[in-house]
């Protein structure tokens, strides 16, 4: 059943077309990867889905509701959680407080002026942290955590909003290879158990082909292939884009000079 429907998304920066007519759907509980070489438009598409960028054209539906022009805040309320390419957490707070902050926002208590924040939703925050294996570090300041652990905390923050859709922009960038597989296994199990659709971009092909149910390949802002990992792996165009030959850098037909 379709969770996210992205239809004809288009974005250009000056003369550079970063996304051209991008259309895809993500189902509940599905791990969906967007891949492509550097500059393919992954992050652009990603940030349009996350609400950080406004698309020039196109439409996005979450659970049938139009979120094309919604702010990141509104998307959060509709059930979009996300992690960032460079992990974004609140470095002046402990791991638990980071998650508590997300819960406070989720319950619309962020304007509370009286009772202390550190006592609110602590049990729930600890439960979320233990789900990502960070229960022991609950009271460690985020600024003192290793980067791989910060990424886990970020995942817990994203899950605190009880998202239907989880956006992960290069979730394993900057992590050690063993940590990568562990984080994605964890994500996959959470996604499956709670029916969360996960949309992620990734450079690490082991992660992509090991965890994604479906893969979308972008090249210069356009979709050149999509399907199961095996189908994509066999695709001639994809092989050319990734492995490179004398045609790889040619401009696809019908594309204006950028």
């Amino acid at each position: 059943m379709t969770l996210l429907a992205v239809n004809g998304l288009h974005k250009s920066f000056g003369g550079v077309v970063a996304a051209r007519d991008v259309t895809f759907t993500v189902a509940r509980g599905e791990m969906f990867a967007i891949i492509g070489p550097n500059g393919a438009g992954k992050s652009t598409v990603f940030n349009m889905v996350g609400g950080q960028l406004e698309p020039d054209r196109g439409q996005m539906l979450l659970d049938g509701q139009d979120i094309t022009h919604a702010s990141p805040q509104k998307r959060f309320r509709r059930g979009v959680g996300r992690t960032f390419q460079v992990a974004q957490t609140f470095l002046s707070m402990s791991a638990a407080e980071n998650v508590q902050m997300a819960l406070i926002s989720c319950y619309r208590q962020s304007n509370g002026l009286w009772s202390p924040a550190r006592d609110r939703h602590r049990e729930k925050a600890l439960e979320l942290l233990s789900r990502v294996g960070m229960a022991e570090a609950a009271d460690v300041p985020c600024s003192a955590l290793a980067y791989g652990d910060v990424k886990r905390v970020e995942l817990a923050i994203a899950l605190a909003g009880q998202p239907k859709l989880l956006l992960m922009d290069e979730p394993t960038a900057g992590m050690a290879p063993r940590e990568r597989a562990a984080l994605m296994d964890l994500t996959a199990s959470i996604a499956e158990s709670q029916g969360i659709g996960v949309l992620f971009t990734e450079h690490d092909m082991d992660v992509v082909f090991g965890h994604a149910a479906r893969v979308l390949v972008l090249l210069r802002g356009q979709i050149i292939a999509s399907g199961t990992p095996d189908e994509v792996r066999q695709d001639e165009q994809v092989r050319r884009a990734y492995l490179g030959d004398e045609h790889a850098l040619e401009r696809p037909k019908g594309m204006s000079p950028a």
Binding site: G50, Q52, S71, P72, Q73, F76, R77, G81, R82, F84, Q88, T89, F90, L91, S92, M93, S94, E97, M101, A102, I104, S105, C106, Q109, S110, N111, G112, L113, W114, S115, P116, A117, R118, R120, P141, S143, E154, I157, A158, A160, G161
Partner: protein, 615 residues
């Protein structure tokens, strides 16, 4: 209207635009390369004027003529350029990586140092420079006389623009300056000698400031107020033009020159207000000025308080503090009580700023605006409506909160240095209003006869009232800082992207924080008005804002209670040292610089770190 009059107004607008551009151009180039907003730029301008006004007459005695005059002007500018290099090597070089707030404060320290040094070197009198040989006779324009020197100034702006353009386009140095303006890190990684590039940039910037100042000597006498008045205008020009953009500065200077020339016709007394209103409008429409770009603000720039486990026995500590404050009148005389009252007032003022800076990461450089609004609100209520202190204090607070809500609505859209400049502008507008709206505010003399109600009249009752209000407000603010609202502010400070992604309405929270901080500062201002019996425009001035910032810095910006300690220490030092020396500003300036360089955690922060290291 008389066309000749309009023509002459337009021409004088052009000539002040030229002077302004030459100075602001240096500021914007220095910002572009070093990312430092150099408060001391106005001081360099002032040194240029003093140097030229002293040097040029001596040279003219040796050999009279236009060549000597212009050579003297250039020589003065070169001397200022060298001073700029000295400042770069001794100070700026050490703070390129520091948070914006520290950079602004350190260069403001230079402003204070230069103010006292200028008096020491050139004497306290204003110095009127010579008129330019060959340009003494006015010219006739449409039947009106117009100083011919002004025509030369009109030409000087475009000439400097052209030369700077050539320098930036055609020389290796210029290429590096432009490259560094676009991407400083990339230039560094290409193996460019950064130290030399930055020093050279400071020389160029200081040279332009000195030139701008030196060119003024036939028009105005060199005086000690030049630095702050030009820096305020130069800030507006660079911000409106877009920080780092030379053409932007030129365009902005042209517009501001004309606004000043014709603004006189609309608001005869307050051209400053017009200028700052322009800035407010431009920033509201284009948050980065005409040609500016969004500033990339790294995580390192957000310094502030972090979560800590609550101290055990903190209610006991609070009880002890309250007991000491309450018992203080038993041992203190009237003078000490007055000092203690003022310390408490400034502690409250500084603490309200901590909510913005330490908690929210909102670097306000005009917090005095709300202190002053509270003071004026209370004083005006007493003077015009004859209300009692009990009613006047809440009225002052309400006026400050209203002002903060208005200013806040503008500034929460901005970030970093633009926000600091905008808050400074807001405070300057209010300062100008208080100064120039004589019928209502009493102008320079302010309002007198603002006395507390009889029951609170003596030193002891007023001290106790102040202590009670301060303690209660600080505790309320502390409560807010620990509550979800304070945490949301910190969240937005730490990572705006993350805060938005978890649904926090960052702007709304910042606006509310601005209003609350303004209200608390307004309460402090109101208490201050009644403690002195009078108010005057200096309460709204830059130096009052900087006082609060210095207290924060001194106490420690990463600690909740630091500002309270900072207020006590700064005020006590001032009371003790100021009567002993005429060089108070020099000492204060050097202390601010020293604190930024060697003591950035402040008193409370340093003590706390020692404590924790031992534990």
């Amino acid at each position: 209207m008389d066309p000749a009059f309009l023509a002459v107004q337009a021409l004088s607008g052009l000539s002040s635009a030229s002077s302004l551009f030459i100075t602001a151009c240096g500021l914007t180039i220095v910002f572009g390369v070093t990312r430092i907003v150099n408060f001391a730029h106005g001081s360099l301008y002032m040194i240029g004027a003093y140097t030229a006004a002293t040097l040029v007459p001596r040279l003219l005695e040796l050999s009279f003529g236009p060549v000597t005059f212009w050579a003297g002007i250039l020589a003065s500018a070169l001397i200022v350029g060298v001073i700029g290099v000295i400042i770069e090597v001794l100070l700026l070089r050490r703070i390129y990586g520091a948070p914006e707030l520290f950079q602004l404060l350190a260069t403001f320290g230079v402003v204070l140092v230069v103010q006292d040094l200028v008096v020491q070197v050139f004497g306290p009198q204003d110095i009127l420079g010579p008129r330019a040989p060959g340009l003494r006779a006015p010219v006739e324009i449409l039947g009106r006389r117009f100083p011919s020197y002004e025509l030369v100034l009109i030409a000087a702006g475009p000439i400097v623009l052209g030369l700077v353009w050539l320098l930036l386009r055609k020389t290796r140095f210029g290429v590096l300056v432009r490259a560094a303006t676009q991407d400083r890190d990339m230039v560094a990684s290409l193996g460019v000698n950064q130290a030399l590039l930055f020093t050279g940039t400071l020389f160029l910037g200081a040279f332009l400031a000195g030139l701008g100042g030196a060119l003024q000597i036939p028009r105005v006498s060199a005086n000690t107020g030049m630095d702050l008045s030009i820096i305020a205008e130069a800030f507006v020009v660079t911000v409106v033009g877009g920080m780092g953009s030379v053409p932007g500065a030129f365009l902005a200077a042209l517009i501001i020159g004309q606004l000043q020339a014709f603004g006189i016709l609309i608001f005869p007394k307050s051209t400053l207000v017009v200028v700052f209103l322009l800035m407010a409008v431009v920033l509201a429409i284009r948050p980065y000025g005409f040609f500016g770009r969004a500033e990339v603000i790294g995580g390192t720039h957000a310094v502030g308080i972090a979560s800590r486990t609550p101290l055990p026995g903190r209610s006991l500590i609070l009880l002890v503090v309250v007991a000491i404050l309450a018992a203080f009148p038993l041992v203190a005389d009237a003078y000490l009580l007055k000092v203690a009252t003022e310390i408490l007032i400034f502690a409250l003022f500084a603490f309200s700023l901590q909510l913005l800076i330490g908690v929210g990461g909102i670097v306000s450089f005009g917090h005095a605006a709300f202190f002053g609004l509270g003071a004026y609100g209370a004083a005006l209520a007493v003077k015009w409506y004859g209300v009692s202190m009990e009613a006047a204090l809440p009225l002052g607070l309400a006026l400050a909160a209203l002002g903060a809500a208005l200013v806040g609505a503008f500034v929460v859209r901005l970030s970093g240095i633009y926000l600091a400049m905008m808050t400074l502008a807001a405070a300057q507008i209010l300062y100008a209003v208080a100064f120039q709206w004589v019928e209502v505010t009493g102008g320079d003399n302010g309002i007198v006869g603002v006395w507390p109600s009889p029951w609170a009249g003596g030193p002891v009752p007023y001290y106790l009232l102040t202590a009670a209000l301060t303690v209660v407000t600080v505790l309320l603010l502390k409560r807010i800082i620990d509550a979800p609202f304070g945490y949301s502010l910190r969240a937005a400070r730490d990572s705006e992207a993350r805060a938005e992604a978890i649904g926090l309405k960052v702007r709304q929270h910042r606006w509310l924080a601005f209003t609350i901080a303004g209200a608390a500062a307004g309460l402090a201002g109101g208490i201050y008005a009644f403690s002195r019996g009078s108010v005057d425009p200096s309460l709204l001035g830059i130096s009052t804002s900087v006082d609060a910032l210095t207290m924060l810095l001194l106490g420690g910006i990463q600690t909740v209670m630091g500002p309270l300690v900072g207020a006590a220490v700064l005020h006590a030092l001032r009371d003790w040292i100021m009567p002993l020396t005429s060089l108070w500003r020099l000492l204060l300036g050097l202390s601010i610089i020293a604190m930024v360089l060697i003591f950035p955690r402040g008193l409370v922060g340093t003590v706390r770190d020692r404590w924790e290291a031992r534990a």
